[in-house]
């Protein structure tokens, strides 16, 4: 197991290097640092001196890939690529436009982001699996039919409407929870409950339908027939045997959910004013802060790769037949 994890982590390295190269190409090959400086300075203040000053202050005055002026190792290390991209591997993300250290900012914002993403993910998984199993239990009845119809309708609604509608109804009209903001420590739950609820509700439609298909496929298998022949109650068959056997595809689906969790968090955090990574990214996009966006792309990729690994490990927990070597 340990050898497997180490090997997987080594596999992750070339992928991270690839991500790094892609973001580097995106940010520095399409545009020159001069273009970025012009963008940041705004139309009125653009002078050649100002651009030069901007570049020197932020370390964009170096050559892109190879510094022919510096000798020895410095010809590779004293470049934009090394300073801005390669250093990310050791957690050095540089500074944002407002001068703050990006790595520290990310550290501080990780917790609020997790406080939304984790409950949404776990609660969502629980609710949708239960709902899907219930639909599978009542398969081919009117309840099942209407459940599926509702799911299709629910997944046709844009996530933005769930947020706007939920915020309007629950916070503004009924005044149950604050509209937006974030509190420290345990006080935070009042601010978190609505985003989590909306996150769960908006995911019900598509996930339930997907899980229902998995369960229905599982139900046609031989072991279910055997269990029925033994006289086990249908509910027991479903909630114990079918659920356990359907777990592998569900876990696979969960990996796909992790990047969308990021997408959901992006909008959710900015809507509810939660100081997490999502709102940090949106603010950076609006302020056209290239350094922050570049770092977030890298962090996002790291999280994704870690999530993939976790999924593979969770397979062995769900299904003892799977041995990782």
């Amino acid at each position: 197991m340990l050898a497997y994890i180490v090997r997987r982590l080594l596999y992750a390295l070339p992928i991270l290097i690839g991500v790094n190269l892609v973001t580097f190409a995106l940010f520095f090959v399409v545009n020159t640092p001069d273009d970025m400086a012009r963008m940041q300075l705004g139309v009125k203040r653009v002078t050649p001196e100002a651009i030069e000053k901007w570049k020197v202050e932020r370390g964009y005055d170096k050559p892109l890939l190879i510094n022919s002026e510096a000798g020895g190792l410095a010809s590779v290390t004293d470049t934009i690529f090394f300073e801005k991209s390669a250093r990310m591997f050791v957690g050095d993300f540089g500074r944002a436009e407002d001068g703050r250290d990006i790595a520290r900012e990310i550290g501080a914002r990780m917790l609020p982001s997790l406080a939304i993403a984790l409950p949404t993910f776990i609660l969502g998984l629980f609710v949708t699996i239960t709902f899907a199993l219930t639909l599978a239990f009542f398969r081919a009845t009117a309840f099942d039919l209407w459940g599926v119809v509702l799911c299709v309708a629910a997944m046709s609604i844009s996530g933005l409407f769930y947020i706007i509608g939920g915020q309007y109804l629950i916070s503004k009209v009924w005044r149950l929870v604050p509209i937006s903001g974030f509190g420290a420590g345990l006080e935070a739950w009042r601010f978190l409950i609505l985003p989590v609820l909306i996150g769960v509700v908006s995911g019900i439609g598509s996930s339930t339908r997907w899980y229902r298909t998995i369960f229905l496929e599982e139900i046609t298998k031989d072991y279910v027939r055997t269990a029925r022949a033994k006289g086990l109650p249908e509910a027991l068959i479903l909630f114990r045997h079918v659920l356990r056997n359907g777990m592998t595809p569900i876990l696979t689906q969960s990996i796909v959910a992790i990047p969308t969790l990021f997408m959901g968090a992006l909008v959710m955090e900015s809507f509810f004013g939660i100081p997490g990574l999502g709102s940090y990214t949106i603010d950076a996009i609006n302020a056209q802060d290239f350094a922050v966006v570049r770092s977030m792309v890298f962090i996002g990729a790291v999280l994704y790769i870690v999530a993939l690994l976790l999924t593979d490990i969770s397979y062995t927990v769900a299904d003892p037949r799977i041995r990782l070597q």
Binding site: I15, V30, L160, N286, V297, Y304, I305
Partner: protein, 459 residues
């Protein structure tokens, strides 16, 4: 009226897409296996009903994809001068909607503005009251309270006219069917005519009264700058369609080519392609899109000389967004096709072809590609609704379409401020919600039916 035709890049793409669709339809009608699936789709009532709705949306989008610049009035002998504003055929058809702007918010079917203003009333001096709208309900004159009766009557007349029009269509369809197979009733025909006709009736009964009434009222109200919300909805349709359709056009060649090549040649080719899509996959889509859009914005801002009108700039940004979305979304289909090709190339008839010395590319084109067609078709229709939804979110985040371009995303974005107002402005959100819901629901239902009809496992 003189005019100058303007061809935007996205227009070219969307009309190319129509042409491709027609060519593909022609080719598909000659392929026996696909034809079976298409027939199965044609029998499906839900599929045909949602296809009718989708066609209506596509028609609006196509009308909005024929652009021109109107000639300004000038003295004879002078060189023709054209308006800076780029209009479309849809704009011309909906001219009253576009031009009859109020001052600011007004409710659906309102005759007065939503905010109080100081107005001069003869005999009473200045009074703070809700002023009358310039266009909404003007024809009522003094009978301002009769809105319900007047609107009801107009809607009824329009509905009756729509019904007569529908009866004509119904009669035509029934006659043609009767000629083909005299004994068969419409309900039992091989094509789900009954669903199409029923949907058409429902659509006509809503659309015709809606447009008739929109000549007298702002049926969905007006927005902050007094623009009719119905007009904005119509304009949003094209944006949504382009994002949904052009993106798939962009990703399709890449996904098909790389997927088949990886699966067929295996070895280092497979490794390289797998590496590329794993790298792209491991960056969360939104972030990759955000980074790319940010960079594109720099390019657009540093090269203002490329664009002669604001519409062209917004259009280029829209297309760039499609390309970026395409680049981030080809990986899923590519992986599916690779897996399927790996399976196909081990089949006996392909091995036989290889033994006969048929070239690899010929095998791919003649034997592998046709056998993957169903996966491609399923993936295409399944992706569409997701892309329309993604556009709304991206525009909200500020990395979607140009802020000057009307889209569902920008409409929702404005609605957020409107819900915070006191009293609440709800209508533009409700209208955007309904239009988007109908479009995406129809697309989802159609996609489901396509999957059922084309998935060989389901058959």
């Amino acid at each position: 009226m003189q005019f100058q035709i303007v061809v935007l890049w996205s227009d070219i793409f969307i009309w190319l897409l129509v042409a491709f669709g027609l060519i593909f339809g022609f080719l598909a009608s000659r392929d026996e296996r696909l034809l079976v699936s298409w027939r199965r789709l044609g029998e499906n009532r839900i599929a045909m009903a949602s296809a009718t709705v989708l066609l209506a949306f596509i028609l609006i989008g196509l009308l909005d994809s024929l652009h021109y610049r109107a000639q300004l009035e000038n003295k004879p002998g002078q060189k023709a001068v054209y308006a800076i504003e780029v209009l479309s055929v849809l704009d011309a058809l909906a001219a009253p909607l576009r031009s009859r702007n109020e001052k600011t918010y007004s409710e659906p079917f309102a005759t007065r503005l939503y905010a109080k203003e100081t107005i001069d009333v003869p005999g009473q001096g200045s009074v703070r009251d809700y002023p009358r709208l310039k266009h909404g309900g003007q024809h009522l004159g003094e009978r301002e309270d009769d809105v319900a009766a007047d609107a009801g009557m107009t809607a009824f007349k329009a509905g009756a006219l729509a019904f007569i029009g529908w009866l004509a269509v119904f009669g035509a369809v029934a006659t043609v069917n009767r000629k083909k197979s005299p004994k068969l009733k419409l309900r039992e025909a091989a094509f789900a005519w009954d669903a199409v006709l029923l949907t058409l009736l429902l659509m006509l009964l809503t659309i015709v009264p809606l447009f008739w009434l929109s000549g007298y009222y702002h049926v969905f109200g007006t927005d902050k700058v007094g623009q009719d919300v119905l007009y904005q909805i119509l304009k949003s349709v094209r944006t949504g369609l382009i994002i949904g359709l052009v993106t798939t056009l962009v990703m399709l060649p890449m996904a098909v080519l790389l997927g088949i090549v990886a699966g067929y040649f295996r070895g280092w080719v497979d490794d390289v392609i797998q590496y590329i899509y794993t790298v792209l996959n491991s960056i969360p889509g939104v972030l990759l899109i955000a980074a790319a859009v940010l960079m594109m914005q720099v390019v657009i801002d540093t090269n203002p000389q490329w664009f002669s009108t604001a519409a062209e700039r917004a259009d280029l940004r829209l297309l760039a967004l499609c390309f970026i979305l395409g680049i981030t979304s080809w990986t899923g289909l590519c992986r599916l096709l690779r897996g399927e090709t790996l399976k196909l190339r081990e089949l006996e008839y392909i091995q036989a072809a290889q033994a006969f010395g048929v070239s690899s590319w010929r095998i791919i084109v003649r034997h592998i590609l046709p056998n993957l067609m169903h996966i491609v078709i399923i993936a295409l229709v399944m992706d569409f609704s997701g892309l329309v939804l993604a556009e709304a979110v991206l525009s909200y985040v500020g990395i979607g379409v140009d802020p000057t371009m009307t889209s569902f995303g920008t409409m929702i974005n404005n609605a957020r401020m409107e819900l915070g107002r006191e009293p609440v402005v709800w209508w533009s959100l409700a209208a955007a919600f309904s239009a988007m819901f109908i479009l995406v629901l129809a697309a989802n239902l159609f996609a489901d039916a396509v999957r059922d009809a084309f998935d060989p496992r389901a058959a």
